[in-house]
Subunit: 213 residues, 2 copies
DNA sequence: TAAAGAAGTAACTGTTTAGTGCGTTAATTG
DNA sequence: CAATTAACGCACTAAACAGTTACTTCTTTA
């Protein structure tokens, strides 16, 4: 079993990164309460002691994972550069992005769910989050204003309510995909079903925001 | 401490009921993984042994609680008698009901979240659920058809997609109220905020479904 | 190259947890 | 009212769990 990868015998950064990746998976899979530190150590191929050495304890580790998750989605959003598109196109791009992000990053949803089960007590301790979201709400607010100026959006729409709604119609569908597939007797995760839902969501938001549908 | 209530020393039904109520609270508060059987016994003022006697084990207890929760919301929905109202009024009534039910029964949301974290493995075992949801989807389907006949609704709307959307815009707001209140820097649970959200949700659905907003 | 410090490990501790064995007490019925 | 049945409770177990102690091994640098 001679490894051809020249893996270092000791590499703090790599070990930290492996622990973070493993913890994200485990927290997403089982929630904060159900996640097992031993399991994280195994997945990360690290000794459990290292987790406590680098991250203090289980709760702190969860907080760091959560901060990373929020930073990741908001960073990706910034890269959309919606300000360079006509308002309607920009809005549709945002809806598509939100949906696709949730779809490709199901851990994000589970982590947020878990944090809300715990009444956001980890997020309260975080100071990185403020700036992140100020910019995000600003972005959607600017987009709405621009749309009104272009004559394509209705005036008076609250950017926070719109944000919540765009997130909701994707997030709910995906987070409840298991019970949903049973009670509605269709595979909500089939490719055609996913396409259909995205189209429905775009229609929902466009009818809500635009002056002429 | 002479009790004036003539409480029976032995009452199987009452004990069962206390256990179910306590379990619902505990599962809602901490999820399936975080819930503690000892805690349920304490809250129910019952001996832990009774839980295993009446319900088998923790997972079976969870399944029963979940079935009860779904039965409760679907039963309440049937009582709305939407078929006796003009389509637009009926739709608005359904939106208001959904919102108010989630608001008054936050355990429902947490239980469903927990079940989805576990990939709906308890619901899969349940046979009570089928009939419950067939009637529900039928109800909304009939409502949509009637609205089209009345000339107030657009044709071709999928009742399942509409159902999901009505649920989503209320459910997401409420399940994520803790993180939401932090990142948006407003108290999402303030009475004015709740009213505002309900109004926004009604507008969202009406614009989606109606021919003339 | 020696010393210091950082990376890594195995085995352990004290506690919590779901689940039980077995006895006791109250209600029911022949 | 005796005997059976059902409700209830104490005290335990075996496993799982977060977190730690005490140690070894590798890397860096004065």
């Amino acid at each position: 079993m001679a490894a051809n990868t020249p893996r270092k015998t000791r590499d703090a950064d790599a070990t930290r990164a492996r622990i973070l990746a493993a913890a994200k998976k485990e927290f997403a899979r089982s929630g904060l309460g159900g996640a097992r530190v031993d399991e994280i150590a195994d997945r990360a191929k690290a000794n459990k002691r290292m987790i406590y050495h680098y991250f203090g304890n289980k709760e702190d580790l969860f907080r760091i994972i959560l901060e990373e998750a929020y930073t990741d989605i908001r960073t990706a959003e910034q890269k959309l550069e919606l300000e360079h598109l006509p308002a309607r196109e920009a809005l549709e791009k945002l809806i598509r992005f939100t949906w696709t992000y949730y779809l490709k990053n199901p851990e994000f949803i589970t982590l947020v769910n878990s944090e809300n089960l715990h009444k956001a007590r980890h997020l309260k301790k975080s100071d990185k989050i403020d700036e992140l979201f100020r910019r995000f709400v600003g972005m959607v607010g600017d987009l709405l204003e621009r749309g009104v100026a272009e004559g394509v959006f209705r005036p008076g729409i609250d950017p926070v309510q719109l944000n919540i709604t765009i997130a909701a119609i994707g997030y709910y569908y995906l987070t409840n995909r298991f019970t949903g597939s049973i009670v509605f007797k269709r595979d909500l995760m089939a490719p055609e079903a996913l396409e259909e839902r995205l189209a429905f969501n775009i229609e929902t938001i466009m009818r809500l925001v635009c002056v002429t549908p």
